[in-house]
Amino acid sequence: MQSASSTGTQRSAKAQKFHRLLSLPTVDLAALRELLWSGAPEEDPKVRAQSWQMLLGYLPPVQDRQPSGLQKKREEYEELRRRHYLPVEAEAPSGDVDGAILRQIRLDIPRTSPGLPIFGHQRIQQLLERILFIWSLRHPASGYVQGINDLATPFVVVLLASELDCLPEEINVDAASDDTLDAVEAGAYWCLTKFLSDIQDHYTSGQPGIQQMVAKLREIVHRIDQKLYDHLEEQGLDFLQLSFRWMNCLLLREFPFPCVIRLWDTYIAEPLEGFSSFHVYVCAVFLIYWSPQLKQMDYQQLMLFMQKLPTGKWRNQEIETLLAEAFVLKSLFHSSPNHLNPR
């Protein structure tokens, strides 16, 4: 694999395709979706960041408009920061609802780390605090829900790696200027906002979005792996128990962080109706992947195994197999929708 510094001299075929597309005066978003679906080139952090930002509506696809478009979004974010964050920045959280949100965010930030040391850095922690707090105030129907802190991390990492032109694991926060971090913060805020807009009902009262996804997962597994389904039923294992975190944190806690980034390439590239329906198929394939082992386990073994799946050594290759299988599964069910009729 090439290092970030050697990009430009000898690009991989994959990177070349991206560059060709992204250098056009107007980027064909449908073509970009298709490319990104199969994963961004790992050796070229700028390509991934550009693709994510463009498909999430942050970076304009028309090149001429990019500088002014980004400028406008950054100013908008600056304004949000002034209005919402500045008044509370230096103070202890107040006793009202906003204060409670800020207090919880501050408690969660030090324990937000997808295995990367940069999240222990004070500058990154402050950046994350602002993103989460402002997002929560702007989305009062859900407010801050634990787990959203996790979901912000891929955007911070991908954008920061791009700004510093290095691989995610090589990020040196001290090397970043204030302006660089401000750009990352605004970008991560808008990307997170767009990304979550498809799944806001995951985090509203009663978490209806998650309940629906769990019901759908259950139905899919019932259809395609009846033996596993029956075994889980027999053991009294509830699908909500086994998949709640998968839905709530979009599998972010189940894989090594680089795999999550790769997974999200595809999620962000999913068609406009949103990635959340595809996510359920990924979860189904992921669950069935373990089927041979699961069918040998009793309730307690199942619970312990499922909450700490042996994915520590997973690479992109395993993720891509899951994605390919999920794609087939989705096509299958979409061509005969009655398969998924909840009744």
Binding site: L107, S113, D150, L240, F244, N248, L304
Partner: protein, 216 residues
């Protein structure tokens, strides 16, 4: 004393860990089960599960199925479903944050609604270590919590997951109390019902067999 085998037990008790977010539920559980604090602590999402088989001081061996729940309000709809059939609870607050103690009333009501009606609740004031370092951090006085516990029929103790202070005690005292209360009830009931413990059928497990005589 002989080692207790994980699957050699007389009773199965389901216990839940509840309380506001970030009071230290997962830390207490990790300290009790693994003897150490979590390596990469993260907020608990939904519920997590652990078990431990414990020889009681009186009454035999108990397998505790412990459910660690997410404390944040938003997760209540999901987590309260897991209270069902729980015979014991550790209700945890943070002695340096009064709000977490005030919430205990709400938690207690929820437990009594959704779990077994005669659930045994152990009220735990966590983070004693912080107060030992700096007494001015204390926001909930021992006596106030003790009074609250007495009023509502809870057992009470302060603890610290960080120093291990009282950690083993709070879990095992709760298990002993569950045993004592259920065996008292059992004595009042007919022999026929003796294999029902807090609503969980443990017929297949039953009273310990003869091999117990050697190890007890």
């Amino acid at each position: 004393m002989a080692a207790v085998h994980e699957d050699d037990y007389d009773y199965l008790y389901k216990v839940v860990l509840v309380g506001d977010a970030t009071v230290g539920k997962t830390h207490l559980l990790s300290r009790y089960i693994k003897g150490s604090l979590p390596k990469n602590p993260t907020a608990t999402i939904g519920v997590e599960f652990a078990t431990r088989t414990v020889p009681l001081a009186v009454g035999g061996t108990v397998k505790a199925q412990i459910w660690d729940t997410a404390g944040q309000e938003r997760y209540r709809a999901i987590t309260s479903a897991h209270y069902r059939r729980a015979v014991g609870a550790l209700l945890v607050y943070d002695i340096t944050r009064e709000g977490t103690f005030k919430s205990c009333t709400k938690w207690m009501e929820e437990l009594r609604q959704s779990a077994e009606p005669d659930i045994v609740i152990m009220l735990v004031g966590n983070k004693v270590d912080l107060v030992e370092k700096d007494p001015s951090l204390r926001q909930v006085y021992f006596d106030a919590a003790h009074e609250f516990a007495k009023l509502h029929g809870l057992i009470f103790e302060e603890a610290s997951a960080v120093t291990s202070h009282n950690v083993k005690y709070i879990f095992e005292h709760l298990l002993q109390e569950i045993y004592d209360q259920t065996s008292k009830r059992r004595e009042q009931q007919s022999i026929d019902n003796s294999n029902m413990v807090g609503g969980i059928q443990v017929a297949a497990i039953g009273p310990k067999n003869d091999s117990c005589d050697n190890s007890c």
